[in-house]
């Protein structure tokens, strides 16, 4: 155990190595580690933000889908209503047309019946006249009436 100059030289070496390490060796490494730490922290924060954004988007999408569903249901209901209305309208129209047709047919029947009655009346008159003629022909003395007939002939 003899203490000598070596001690001073070793202390000098120690000082140089401390200075070198603190000044040149460690700062880049510490900066790199710090940088990576920050990157990781940033990445985690980004992921958190992304998750939140995804959540919002999901909610938005859900809202839009619900809206679309409601709208579709509305449209279907509307269409249903319109269909019913159309069917009702055509039914009514058809019924009206049938009514009209029937009315026309009834009128024609009525006309025909009037006509037939008239014809019948004419025939009845003719028959009456013919009957009367026959009765008269038996009752009338052609001589008695010859003047009259002659008068008529003259008038013709």
């Amino acid at each position: 155990m003899n203490i000598n100059m070596t001690l001073l030289l070793q202390a000098l070496g120690f000082a140089i190595f401390i200075f070198f390490t603190v000044k040149f060796v460690l700062p880049p490494l510490a900066a790199a580690i710090e940088g990576r730490r920050r990157q990781i922290a940033d990445g985690l924060a980004e992921a958190e933000k992304g998750k939140a954004a995804l959540f919002t988007a999901q909610k938005e999408a859900d809202k839009i889908i619900a809206e679309a569903k409601a709208r579709a249901a509305e449209i279907v209901a509307q269409a249903e209503k319109e269909r019913t209305a159309t069917i009702e309208a055509s039914k009514n129209e058809a019924r009206a047309a049938g009514e009209r047709e029937r009315a026309m047919a009834a009128e024609e029947i009525a006309q025909l019946s009037v006509k037939a009655k008239e014809e019948l009346r004419d025939r009845v008159a003719e028959l009456a006249v013919a009957g009367a003629k026959r009765i008269l022909a038996r009752e009338i003395n052609p001589q008695v009436h010859a003047d009259l007939l002659a008068q008529l002939k003259a008038e013709l």
Binding site: M5, A11, G13, V22, V25, L26
Partner: protein, 266 residues
């Protein structure tokens, strides 16, 4: 193996002797060249390597080397974060320097003792102690530097008045009669810190070296000795897989603890 030595004592003594160079008159001006060169080369290699790695670091996907460096950094940073509050960048740098350098110097133990001695003998250098931390000059240099920093941090954190107050008025009280006792107490604490740092590491490494040398001496006993020595050496080396990083870790942790104590104002 120990054939060229006069005896086991000579063998061990030789392997634990530093390569000395005198730079002036008197014992103090001696330099242990092996200690200085080994530790400086190891430091230059270790910190140069880390520097090369740190120049290519990226915040993106790290390379394997960067991942290893980050592991080391995060390990030290986490340990120090728990004890040192405030801006700890310098303390973490200091901790990593201590850990890496002490670890590398300790790790020289893994090289078989005679490989180094014989290798240097072959190029004409008769003494070369490879484990720089088994030289008390190294450990004491580290510890005294740490205590210098402790005093500096104390002044910085508490101010001159605050630190003087702490030196003279704690732990017993601020009565002027108690000032000398307080100061004596603080002084003992201030001296015991570097001594405990330095002597723990030095003692561990030095004793470990002696055991390695004793195991190497077993080979005097012929083939059986060589076999037993090989097994024992392997066992002791495996044990040092634990001791080497542990001692480096303890040195780093105590450094951080002392600096944290200095930094915290009471």
């Amino acid at each position: 193996m120990a054939g060229s030595y006069e005896g086991p004592g000579d063998y061990i003594g030789h392997h634990l002797t530093n390569l000395k160079v005198a730079t002036g008159e008197g014992g103090f001006w001696t330099v242990h060249l092996d200690t200085v060169i080994t530790s400086w080369v190891l430091g230059a290699l270790g910190f140069g390597f880390l520097w090369l790695v740190s120049r290519k670091v990226t915040a993106g996907v790290p390379s394997k080397v960067q991942a290893f460096f980050e592991l080391l950094y995060e390990f030290c940073d986490n340990q120090i974060k728990d004890i040192f509050h405030g801006d700890r960048r310098f303390v973490v740098g200091l901790g990593i320097t201590v850990f890496v350098w002490v670890f590398l110097m300790n790790a020289m133990k893994f090289l078989p003792v005679d490989f180094i001695a014989k290798g240097f003998e072959a190029v004409g250098i008769n003494y070369w102690k490879p484990v720089a931390t088994a030289d008390v000059n190294t450990t004491l240099a580290l510890a005294l530097s740490v205590i210098g920093l402790v005093i500096f941090f104390s002044f910085k954190a508490k101010g001159f008045g605050g630190y003087m107050h702490e030196l003279f008025c704690t732990p017993f009280g601020s009565n002027p009669i108690l000032w000398p006792f307080n100061f004596l107490f603080q002084l003992i604490e201030l001296v015991s810190k570097p001594l405990s740092l330095a002597l723990r590491l030095f003692g561990n490494m030095y004793a470990g070296e002696i055991i390695f040398l004793l195991i190497a001496l077993l080979s005097i006993g012929g083939l059986f000795g060589v076999g037993a020595g090989a097994i024992l050496h392997a066992g002791w080396a495996i044990f040092h897989l634990l001791v080497v990083p542990l001692q480096a870790f303890i040195f780093m942790m105590l450094t951080a603890v002392y600096l944290a104590l200095a930094h915290e104002s009471h």
